[in-house]
Amino acid sequence: MHYDIALAWESLPTLLQGTLTTFIVLLPVLVLGLLISIPVALARLERGPGSLLAAAYIIFFRGVPSIVLLYLIYSGLPQFSVIRNTALWTLFSNAYFCAWVGLTLTHSGYMGEIVRGGLAAVPPGTIEAAQALGLGRMQILFKLRLPMAARYALRAYQNELLIMVKSTSAVSAITLVDLTAAANTVFDYTYDPFTPLVTAAGIYWVIINAMRYAFNVADSRLNRHLALK
């Protein structure tokens, strides 16, 4: 078993194409997941039926593996004629769309808890001060609570983001050829499993560590005031 550099170089275009698919799946999920998680977290912090609903949302989508959600959406939903015989079919027959929906639900579940933790860590005195100064609810939310929560939740977000990058490998289950699946295609053609899989691992490693580096930079910028002098 040895690493075949010539084959690695030859299969690089296929693997980079897979990397592109990984990012096409990942980026909308990150944006949508974050957008959905904010109302979920806010509902979770309030009292009333909304809080229970948000808790159920979080428990369900955190408890079910993303691959189960992907299968449910990609193969399960088309069983119903409501999906199959209406305009929705153009959406749900698209594997990319199903991957976006499935992974967004998982991601927003986890992000809901992270955003809630960040919001809960905002000192109540800050909010009371803002209220005393006559700021409106939305002003307090967008100018104070969310920016402060973002700083508190940065490290938890880093963990979740890196987990999401790695969980995109699940989309190969619904026919998308992401980086992991691309490495397997090269294996199918060449009967050499070691080289393409190790090369793919290297690409993942670079992506993950670039993100870690970006978070370290962001952390030292945003949380400068917390740094030990």
Binding site: V64, S75, Q79
Partner: protein, 239 residues
């Protein structure tokens, strides 16, 4: 409606899922604890090995690691043994590949959890064990590690859920577990929705069960701990 025969198969698959998850988790605990104990005090060589290990296994999806072990595992083992002059031919089945892959990947995460828990055990505990002349292995097993378990428990129970859910993903290497049978049943009956919902219910049930078991263990590990008296409502408000 789901057919009973397929539900039975799903149940058998669920048992395999639990088996793989439990074995991988135990392996991860072993790997993680050993790495944590080895890196509590910074020793340059051990630390360098740990850094490389952690960087690789936390930087790559577990599915990819499992594919690598399954497809290239016997080749890698053969070249490993040929270094010491042995010729072996070991077939790697999906079960072994899944357990080893998940164990090694999550061992890297668990090492971090356990190490920070060790750092959070009050230093007086180490000193007291020293002063009382308790032999070091005894001190670790009966004084330090039980307290580590208490401190690390929330993170460790989270990790168990992550490992369990990742087992579903690993089914893609050809492991015959709950997802495989759910796919099989949906293919035959053309009613995929119900079988995948059953699979989802299984994972939710396991999450709930984990919560209950964690509570039990928490009660056991925290039995020697003095709890602060619950603050009375009025005083809390007055403050």
């Amino acid at each position: 409606m789901p057919l009973l025969g397929f539900v039975e198969q799903l149940g058998l698959g669920a048992m395999v899922t639990i088996e793989v998850a439990v074995l991988s988790y135990l392996l991860a605990l072993l790997v993680g604890t050993l790495f944590a104990l080895a890196t509590v005090r910074r020793r340059p060589i051990v630390n360098a090995i740990w850094q490389v290990y952690a960087s690789i296994f936390t930087g790559v999806p577990s599915l990819l690691v499992a594919f690598l072990f399954y497809y290239a595992g016997s080749g890698m083992l053969a070249s490993l043994f040929s270094v010491v002059g042995m010729r072996v031919n070991i077939e790697v089945n999906p079960f072994a590949a899944a357990v080893v892959a998940l164990g090694l990947v999550y061992g890297a995460y668990i090492a971090d959890i356990v190490r920070s828990a060790i750092h959070n055990v009050p230093p007086g505990q180490f000193e007291a064990a020293n002063v009382l002349l308790i032999p070091r292995p005894t001190a670790w097993f009966f004084v330090i590690l039980p307290q580590v378990l208490r401190l690390a428990l929330p993170a460790l129970s989270n990790m168990w859920i992550v490992v369990l859910k990742d087992t579903a993903l690993i089914s893609l290497i050809g492991l015959k577990e709950i997802m495989t049978y759910a796919r099989l049943a949906s293919g035959v009956t053309k009613e995929p929705f119900i079988y995948f919902i059953l699979a989802a219910a299984f994972f939710l049930l396991m999450t709930g069960l984990t919560y209950l078991v964690t509570q039990r263990i928490e009660g056991w590990t925290g039995r020697g701990l003095r709890r602060a008296a619950p603050a009375r409502e009025e005083t809390a408000r007055a403050l």
